[in-house]
């Protein structure tokens, strides 16, 4: 087989003369780049301290809001991407599909408490994903990566944050278990990106490995048998027949969630068992096994004692129907709502109402953010089928598919900022967005705008009044590329809750 050429080999390549090389010297550029690195680091420390407060305040806000069963916003000065909240039965395999089609696969037994013990009860999973520079900028996620003492800026192909709690107490991912997130990606480049992890905004990004890109068609998604949400059924309780034999079996409702409506499960021998010996019900058996059959609501019961084993088909029955039928009817009514595949617990009806409220709120939010949704859906539809970047999640925090870059060059403008009426604008944060790649460069020295003249660029500013300003790519495009000093007059957007949805279409 012919060996692929890994390198471009040149022999006796003509080098530039010293004079030609020296013509490229520009010590002013070196000092300004270095100064930028310096302010970058200082500000990063500042951000670190601020982030501690944000995280602590955020946590208080996060958990206090959760009691109301609503979705949460992060606690930055301006609104970022809100979390979506899902309720998970930790005893079951679960597959969640986010509003734009990303997939979160959670294996049974994935969560433990702080002491490492498996948890029981509904786990709240909080998830938000970032695909657009506006989402990253407004959510205040640091996008600087340190490697060998050098700082790089991330160009993202998709990022998400995942957290979880149980009754407002943090949970961990069990040792040996991992969640799998297949994040819809808008950049389908297969080789450009690496994966990085950050535990919180105060911690550095860590390289975790090469990126994995995969294609999943909508058909294969709908054929995925692990989607439990619409499959979930409950066995309708029926009253026992006093003329037949029943026996009580201790039934694990986590293993048989379809029996959750039964407060005490009795099994009654099926009419199909013509040769059943009624005396078996009176014997003492050492071991009893229950298995589902192909017929929903029918079970194969195996009774063991020593070498003796008998098997029979049976169905679950109840002694008293009045209370449990009420629960069952409530469940049937709610069955058409958005339901995340969570298993039924004892407080079934309360949980259903809560979930319905959450679904309503999510729908409401979705309607409000139509511009945002349209943008994302348009982007996704370009790829025909869903293209995913797959992440293995074994701890909570931020996960990112990124390519580290230096600041754009060689354009450099000494910048001033003013409102449209000419009054000076105090800029707290400044970002350069390069439109041909999904990168938001944080320019920590707000008096210097580094840019690539060959690219389409925008500037996003956050003022001292927390206003968001945009100097659009059209305006940037009109600038004389050789200009050295310029006063930018960004369009101001007043701070409001759904700022992300305003900024995405404008950017």
């Amino acid at each position: 087989m012919k060996k692929m050429k890994k390198y471009k080999i040149t022999e006796n390549r003509e080098e530039l003369s010293e004079q030609e090389i020296n013509a490229h010297k520009n010590f002013a550029l070196i000092t300004s780049k270095s100064k930028h690195m310096k302010s970058n680091q200082l500000l990063k420390t500042g951000i670190g301290l601020a982030a501690v407060s944000i995280v602590i305040l955020g946590a208080i806000y996060f958990f206090s809001k959760k009691k109301n069963g609503s979705t949460e916003n992060n606690a930055s000065a301006y609104s970022g991407v809100p979390f979506s909240k899902y309720q998970i039965n930790p005893a079951k395999d679960t597959l969640l599909v986010t509003s734009i089609g990303s997939l979160i696969e959670i294996p049974a037994g994935a969560f433990t408490d702080e002491k490492g013990n498996p948890v029981s009860g509904m786990v709240n999973l909080h998830f938000r994903e970032f695909h657009h520079p506006a989402e990253i900028i407004l959510s205040d996620v640091p996008m600087v990566y340190d490697s060998a003492d050098t700082q790089y800026h991330f160009e993202s192909a998709g990022m998400f944050e995942i957290q979880a709690d149980l009754n407002s107490r943090p949970v961990n991912i069990a040792e040996g278990k991992q969640l799998q997130v297949r994040l819809v990606t808008l950049d389908t480049n297969k080789t450009k990106f690496n994966q990085y992890y950050m535990s919180d905004k105060n911690s550095p990004w860590q390289y975790t490995g090469r990126d994995a890109v995969s294609l999943l068609t909508k058909e294969s998604l709908s054929a995925d048998k692990r989607v439990p949400a619409k499959e979930e059924k409950l066995v309708k309780p029926v009253l026992m027949d006093k003329n037949k034999k029943q026996f009580r079996v201790e039934t694990d409702l986590e293993a048989f969630p379809e029996l959750a409506l039964f407060r005490e499960v009795l099994f009654e021998v099926s009419d199909k068992e013509k040769n059943y010996d009624a005396r078996n019900a009176d014997k003492e058996w050492e071991q009893i096994e229950i298995e589902r059959t192909k017929v929903f609501g029918e079970y194969l019961i195996s009774l063991h004692k020593g070498d003796e084993t008998i098997q029979m088909l049976a169905k679950p029955v109840a002694k008293d129907l009045s209370k449990i039928l009420e629960d069952y009817n409530k469940k049937k009514q709610a069955d058409d709502t958005y339901f995340y595949g969570a298993g039924m617990q004892n407080d079934l009806s309360r949980k259903l109402i809560e979930e319905r409220e959450i679904a309503d709120k999510m729908f409401d939010k979705f309607q409000k953010s139509k511009a945002y949704a349209d943008y994302l859906m348009n982007q996704v539809s370009i790829t025909q089928d869903y293209v995913y970047r797959t992440f293995q999640v074994n701890r909570f925090g931020f996960y990112n598919s990124d390519c580290p870059n230096n600041l754009p060059t060689p354009g450099l403008i000494a910048a001033g900022f003013a409102y449209k009426d000419g009054n000076a604008m105090k800029v707290k944060k400044l970002f350069l967005v390069e439109h041909n790649r999904n990168a938001a460069f944080a320019l920590y020295d707000t008096k210097m705008v580094f840019f690539n003249p060959k690219a389409a660029n925008s500037l996003v500013v956050i003022t001292d009044k927390n206003e968001v300003g945009l100097f659009s790519k059209e305006e940037f495009g009109k600038l004389d590329k050789s200009v050295k000093n310029f006063v930018f007059q960004p369009e101001i957007y007043p701070n409001k809750e759904d700022m992300v949805n305003e900024l995405i279409p404008a950017l």
Partner: protein
């Protein structure tokens, strides 16, 4: 800069006051350019990488401690990292520049006649890993000592030596097949 002591004096001054870094910049600009220029084809990319190397060096100058290597080795170490990062990010094909005049020691090491080596070297290099290429470049194309190579590539001197000789063995095997 005529002597190491003069260079060290200059570094101490730059650590106190960044403007003194310009003397070091002037001194090493051409050699860093050539170091990167042998590894990167596009002239604009070379210019960007060189400015990144010096900006990073100025930023970290206070951390610099003399370790018995020339100041240029520290710059080459930063340059090597920058070049690797550049290829990781851009996915371009790595450039390897062979200067025939500086390959005599490689011919001696591989027991080859230079005229024979010339015929096969370009093909055989494709069988080396990125780190092996760097080792061959530094040792045989740029005549660096193993101690300096170890410093630049952040491995021990002994490790640099072992890996270089392994790369040479690999080349010898390929030469025998390709000849």
């Amino acid at each position: 800069m005529n002597s190491l002591s003069e260079e060290y004096e200059c570094i101490l001054q730059a650590q106190q006051e960044p403007k003194h870094f310009e003397a070091l910049y002037d001194e090493y600009f051409v050699s860093v350019w050539k170091f990167i220029g042998r590894r990167v084809e596009d002239k604009q990319d070379v210019a960007d990488l060189v400015s990144d190397v010096f900006a990073s060096a100025l930023f970290h100058i206070k951390k610099f401690k003399p370790m018995g290597y020339p100041f240029s080795s520290w710059l080459y170490k930063i340059a090597s990292n920058e070049v690797n990062r550049y290829y990781r990010a851009s996915k371009k094909i790595r450039l390897v520049s062979i200067d025939h005049a500086s390959c005599k020691s490689l011919a001696a090491q591989t027991n080859m006649e230079w005229n024979d080596l010339k015929q096969v070297l370009g093909k055989a290099l494709h069988y080396l890993s990125a780190q092996e290429i760097e080792l061959i470049e530094l040792r045989y194309f740029e005549s660096k000592s193993f101690a300096e190579i170890g410093f630049i590539l952040q491995v021990t001197e002994n490790n640099a030596k072992v890996k270089t000789y392994r790369a040479i063995d690999k080349l010898k095997q390929k030469f025998s097949v390709l000849q």
